[in-house]
């Protein structure tokens, strides 16, 4: 059976639905207020603090085959400089000749300074073994730039290229549900269920989007770094599995980080 579709009639009727969307918005104002109240109540005492403390210990601890600390690690502002490093990542590193985000850079330092096997760590599932330590380290390093404003360097050709690749990844549609990052994050003021969706094609504001991760997820009681955040975004997009520290995840971070220029970092944040 194959009948013609009466598009015109259907389109005419869509107008009515839009009018009603306005009413719906007004009715759920109180729900949004309720959620805001809930989030405020959780602000004091973010369990991310537990991971910050662990990360700081790990930074100063002699570990790995070389029994060394990470205190000589160059996160972009010189060996051992932690404060302010997070809000300038991802950036280009001459020694690895790559644009790296915080976590892939930490893994490089763990490899060169402590003698860990970088490929092995990258292949370790989130939440296990050394990946847990990378997350804790990233949480602490991010926390050391709390209150600072994002200002990713774009001077190097590779940094500008990373931005351009990241932008294309952001808009890449695929999978059985046709989702891209842009499906949910390219318009102001939208939400999924009751969760606000930051518009990541521009600076979404202080402490929003890129400026809120790593974050403690209350829904599962886990600390999530940006790599895991993006990994789960791709899972929800119904795409296959992105490699840890791959060009796709790092360039996406460059795209979001550059767009967030001037946004104040509140990381480590607290999320649903």
């Amino acid at each position: 059976m194959h009948r013609p579709l009466l598009i015109a009639a259907a389109l005419a009727l869509t107008g009515a639905a839009l009018t009603f969307a306005g009413t719906a918005l007004a009715q759920t104002k109180s729900a949004a207020d309720g959620i805001a109240e809930y989030r405020r109540m959780l602000e004091d005492g973010n369990p991310a603090e537990l991971f910050e403390a662990k990360g700081e210990d790990l930074w100063k601890q002699k570990r790995g085959p070389k029994n060394a600390t990470l205190q000589a690690c160059d996160l972009g502002k010189g060996p051992g400089v932690v404060k302010g490093a997070f809000v300038e990542l991802p950036r280009y590193f001459a020694d690895t000749q790559k644009v790296q985000d915080l976590e892939s850079r930490l893994v490089s330092c763990m490899a060169t300074l402590q003698g860990f096997n970088a490929a092995e760590i990258a292949a370790t599932p989130f939440g296990r073994g050394e990946q847990n330590n990378v997350t804790a380290l990233a949480t602490w390093v991010a926390g050391e730039s709390r209150g600072q404003r994002f200002n990713l360097p774009q001077g190097h050709e590779q940094e500008r290229k990373s931005y351009e690749i990241g932008k294309r990844v952001f808009f890449f549609r695929g999978g059985p549900m046709d989702f891209s990052c842009a499906s949910c994050h390219s318009v102001d003021g939208q939400r999924i269920r009751l969760q606000d969706l930051p518009n990541l094609t521009k600076n979404p504001g202080d402490g929003v989007g890129f400026a809120a991760w790593p974050a403690y997820r209350v829904s599962n009681g886990q600390m999530w770094s940006m790599q895991l955040r993006l990994n789960d975004c791709f899972r929800q997009q119904r795409l296959p599995y992105p490699g840890f520290g791959s060009d796709v995840t790092v360039s996406l971070s460059t795209y979001m980080g550059v767009n967030a220029k001037g946004a104040q970092s509140i990381a480590p944040g607290l999320k649903r």
């Binding site: 009639a9 639905a17 050709e157 294309r168 808009f171 059985p176 549900m177 094609t201 791959s246």
Partner: protein, 211 residues
């Protein structure tokens, strides 16, 4: 950097002044990066990054040209499969459950069969008034049938909206080339029965949507 690189070029590189590849080259490089970065995990196989015409056309911050958009919509309309035996409707209660259910098709799900999937409708739409946790990416569907004057869903006057709604659920791109909504029938996310339940949720006068 290779030794053979002329000094002037290396100076430019060091200063970060080298020109970026062209936009088309960057498009190609992005696809190469995507192919290299993703791997199979569970039911989420690498072939999911292979784009069809519509996915590729709607993968930038610019809308496709009218000609391409028309082609995407025409293909989508031509591919809509109408329900077997004209069974457009099911049970709105089952439809509500599907609308609430946002699961399925991720690498942590064990099967791609429609039975394992939800419709994820509340993620993006207001639907019944009782559910306050709804998204706003799509328009409100509250009173969807009522606003369109649907009383008896079997009445001939209801036929156009019944068909429009079925086709929209089956392949949202039939009406909008870059619609954010999944193509539930086309992509095999939901089966005919499940789509019929969603039809009832939206159009049945007894459904909470139309109260």
């Amino acid at each position: 950097m290779k030794n053979s690189t002329p000094l002037i070029a290396s100076l430019l590189l060091a200063a970060g002044c080298a020109a970026l590849p062209s936009s088309q080259d960057l498009d190609r490089e992005a696809l190469v990066a995507i192919k290299a970065a993703f791997r199979d995990e569970g039911i989420a196989k690498i072939n999911r990054i292979q784009q069809d015409l519509g996915q590729a056309a709607c993968s930038s911050d610019k809308q496709p040209t009218d000609a391409v958009a028309d082609q995407v919509m025409a293909q989508a309309r031509a591919g809509v499969k109408w329900p077997t035996g004209g069974q457009y409707f099911g049970d709105w209660r089952e439809g509500e459950k599907l609308a609430q259910n946002g699961r399925g098709m991720t690498w942590t799900d064990s099967s791609t069969a429609p039975a394992a999937n939800g419709g994820s409708c509340y993620n993006c739409h207001q639907i019944s008034k009782q559910e306050i946790s709804f998204g706003t990416i799509g328009p409100s569907l509250y009173n969807y049938g009522k606003n369109r004057g649907v009383g008896d869903v079997m009445a001939p006057t209801a036929q156009p909206i019944v068909e429009y709604t079925w086709a929209k659920i089956y392949n949202s791109k039939a009406y909008s080339a870059c619609s954010n909504m999944p193509r539930f029938g086309h992509a095999g996310v939901l089966d005919e029965k499940q789509m019929a339940h969603l039809m009832s949720l939206l159009l049945d006068p007894k459904s909470p949507v139309n109260q």
